[in-house]
Symmetry: C2
Amino acid sequence: MKVGILTIGNELTSGKTQDTNSSYIARELQVQGWPVAVMMSVGDDDAAIKEALDHILSLADALIVTGGLGPTSDDITTAAIGRAFGRKLYTDETCLKHIREIFSQFRLKWTDNNAKQALFPEGAETIFNPVGTAWGFALRVEGKVIAVIPGVPAEVKIMLPEGVIPFFRKAFPQAAQHVAARIFKVFGISEAGVDKLLSDIDFKGLGVEIGFYPNFPEIHVQLKVRTSTEAEARARLARAEAEVTDRLRDNIFGHDEQTLEGVVAALLTERGLTLAVAESLTGGLITDRLTDIPGSSKFFERGCVTYSNQSKTDLLGVPEEMLREHGAVSEQTAVRMAEGVRALAGTNLGLSTTGIAGPDGGTAEKPVGTVYVALSDGKDTFCRHYDTFRWDRRRIKVLSSQAALLMVKRYLTGEIRHGQ
Amino acid sequence: MKVGILTIGNELTSGKTQDTNSSYIARELQVQGWPVAVMMSVGDDDAAIKEALDHILSLADALIVTGGLGPTSDDITTAAIGRAFGRKLYTDETCLKHIREIFSQFRLKWTDNNAKQALFPEGAETIFNPVGTAWGFALRVEGKVIAVIPGVPAEVKIMLPEGVIPFFRKAFPQAAQHVAARIFKVFGISEAGVDKLLSDIDFKGLGVEIGFYPNFPEIHVQLKVRTSTEAEARARLARAEAEVTDRLRDNIFGHDEQTLEGVVAALLTERGLTLAVAESLTGGLITDRLTDIPGSSKFFERGCVTYSNQSKTDLLGVPEEMLREHGAVSEQTAVRMAEGVRALAGTNLGLSTTGIAGPDGGTAEKPVGTVYVALSDGKDTFCRHYDTFRWDRRRIKVLSSQAALLMVKRYLTGEIRHGQ
């Protein structure tokens, strides 16, 4: 079953808004095993919409349309689709009641143009919107199906899996399979490196598809299974998961929707441990990431962004002599920073980074991209030196923050051990 | 002159890669005054490419194609376009020589498939690629023009303005106008607020188009002029710029490609002033932004991410009594944090933030989104209280960091004065 995607809105064809829906929808359709024949965007224009519908339906069995379902006069998607297929519009009373309820709940003033959002082409099935007033609809036209949902990305992310995909599965039962998917989030090896580590696994034999999605600075490895029964899909996925986990081991820091900072935050909270951070080249990025996690004040005590040598001495107790002798970018300084911030904050753990983010400041001995990361638990201090971080200043900061957070994660899961 | 955009690649139709080229190209075309009739994406498939070319050329006078110009076997754009219009391919010797030079310069091993990148359809004009081996080309077909460039966004951003747009202007001289554009970067008022402040300006009378581009947390206001002479375009733009500047005043923090942190960094560097930062709810985001600017070590001395009360006392000298009496989220604490970090770091300026990022921790008196920002210069301390920051934790952090950086910018440009 081939699917087409049509996104509608003048904000797209003028370049005012980046279309993120098409890419999201394509990825979800791919998980279902339904290839995307074509993706199109047109403005809020009756003729352009009709041309696009005709073209896509000549190439695909099903079509997903987003955008143009608002109450204002420039939102013409429903009317244009009605006209394109010769369907009059009717008012869906359940939808109208729902919209009126939202208005009354939020004490908004009702104006008659809002009733427009309860209009649908004859023969359409409505698709409920649990987070807004713009309901969608699905329509069967000459053996093909068209599903229309609003263009707000947060609404697409609910109405596609809950409304559109179930409708398509029902409309094309022969194309509906049980789907199971799993994403492995990997850092520390290249895409080619991941590919090589997994090269001896017979994914075809296991009945599983594998895909790589580089997502700087991470690689996301997706496994997908589509079979006729749910139990079989789960069983195949579990076998492939075990193989992948065995090959990639501690290069995997999380799965599916997890983030590295979220994994670290959960581990620290779970164990009742506290953390203080001393950052030089990462400049606050590590603590910014950690404090994005709700409840981070439970484990995060303080961060010191010690950019100057004076601040390294004042806030972390790094001896001036050490800075003179070894330099601010050195293993000695990184270790002393982690130990110093831990001791002064009175936390269980102290984490530090120091390095050269560039574009200036590199030397032959310590080029741009030279980075030290250290973690102290009061007993031992682990330090790692990186010299492979390249590209621009921002990317060197992001790679360094990722390496530092991964060190905490590995320590907490026992992948880094005392005496190593 | 209507233009169509076609992006080609299996990575697009599988959802693996988000297409950012279409949106960028649409915006650049809009600046030229050339409306986009349709945007399409298809996979690396001969038939799909032909269908798309035919459809777009039935709707538009010109077509921009990106993607599929690499040396590997899945890159078929040039061959598919040649077949679609019955043009054989020829080798461009200048291009071939350039590719060979790049290989020799980077000491890469030459393989014969690389010669494929020097193949072009008969009648094509080549478009030079100054940053890679994938040259583009432009082709005239039945009174229409097609320009083809690689899909790497960094290459599109050079080859579109330097190669494609000049070619189109030459091919459609009646559609080529002198264009002048200016972006105002605004923070602190809503899109509706900006609209209202500018409502008395007669942009039509001035011969200038205005557009609003919300770019969280900023609003970008773009002025565009297209006329027959360059002098006239510049003159009209200058008149409109003066009006907009007069209305929006210090809500404008920068222009065109400037960032707020870049503007603050340039002002501090220019004046030889130094800054220290004490962050609570922003968690390091302010110093992360500042340290993204090359050379930030010239003005940035230290940051203290004082998440715990203990760290506010230890690192900034905020009295425990003050925290008990007024709370960590209070004007008193914000002021003391800014004064403390300035005094202890010995910098010219001290900046601080404290607030409630949520989702928990809000009270009736101090709900989620309550934020204080303070700036001390050793003589005066300015403090501002915000209670309109809403949405999620991340957005409250971003809004707060923006408000704090804007306060520094306004102080440095004299928009905040002593005794106010």
